[in-house]
Symmetry: C2
Subunit: 198 residues, 2 copies
Amino acid sequence: MNMTNQIDKRSPRTKARVIQILDAATACFVEQGFHGTGMARIAERAEMSAGHIYHYFDSKDAIIAAIVERETSAHEAKMREFQSLPCENLKNEMVARAEEGVRTNTDPFRSALSLEIVAEAKRNPDIAERLRRHDVIVRTEFARLLSEKLKLDHAEGRVEVLFTLFDGLAIRMLRHPDLDQAGLTRFIRQAILAVLAD
Amino acid sequence: MNMTNQIDKRSPRTKARVIQILDAATACFVEQGFHGTGMARIAERAEMSAGHIYHYFDSKDAIIAAIVERETSAHEAKMREFQSLPCENLKNEMVARAEEGVRTNTDPFRSALSLEIVAEAKRNPDIAERLRRHDVIVRTEFARLLSEKLKLDHAEGRVEVLFTLFDGLAIRMLRHPDLDQAGLTRFIRQAILAVLAD
DNA sequence: AAAGTTAGAATGAACGTTCGAAATAATGTT
DNA sequence: AACATTATTTCGAACGTTCATTCTAACTTT
């Protein structure tokens, strides 16, 4: 009955199964969307029966919640890397990482997953809440970085624009799948530098 | 084959009903998403029976297709306004209109509708195709504007960043519904100016 | 053999869609 | 004008399908 103990006591086998389901579901959602994917298809891809998935997750909704959890915590971990960076040359380092971020966010799989999560948040208040809580964390941490280490004023406004830019990439990839990444990156850097200027 | 004639031949009553359905469906989709909305709810909001909707639309998918059509053509009309603008002071005019665009795209109803359309495109190839065709039009027209009237090189790359910014606003509103619009707009202008600089 | 694990058919609800008839409007006839 | 007839609009119940979820029995492992 004790859920917390159950989680802690998960055997390696169980943990592997959970990851197996999560990976399969993620792939399905990316390809056909949350509502276009049936439990049967997830089961097929995870190489187990549909009914069996319910031994690891209470519902289909719980699966996407777990996927969102996985994504957001990975994202928060990436954010923490920034905080341990030295102050000098921080701006250049940030621009460099931003370009890496462009590459990541324009990756078809990643951008599709982001969009799927956002789409689900529009329908599922629980997902929306998770996304907002996560956003507060990365937003305020990043703003403090700009404010304390780069000595920039109005850090919140700057962060908002930077995040808008990166969020926009997922939609951009959907509307223009074969866009010129190099050309895009060049002017994104220009935009980022402008937003980070005094 | 002539769609325009078909529309023209519709009786005022029919046109009113179609708009009634489209408006009701749009409101429902914005609030609960396409898949969270049943035909029954659309019917209730449009004040007619569910079955009757099928006299005006072949399917639920046809409704969202019509909504997308309405949105994209309104968007293309707005784009055409730019072309009739005088060359001198065009850049300032564009920045001014961009700020108006920020206001529009951060409107809760509008941003939710944009997201819903994008989300549906992820699942429905027909919608995705419509969105891409529309994107080609506004993208190339806008690029020509930058290239011919503002004499800017790499117009496509610049346009891509500008569009990324505006597309991102819809997601941003979902993640951070009560963001500070003024602070955002200030740095968006800064970013736009950087993208439009030689 | 007991406990844990798996499969796949059964269940039941939700929902898009269809259908036949009733109500209403339009047209024609005397 | 009054009536008859044809066409259009509207409704709401019924249908069929899809799909998440449950259940029971079989199978592994210890």
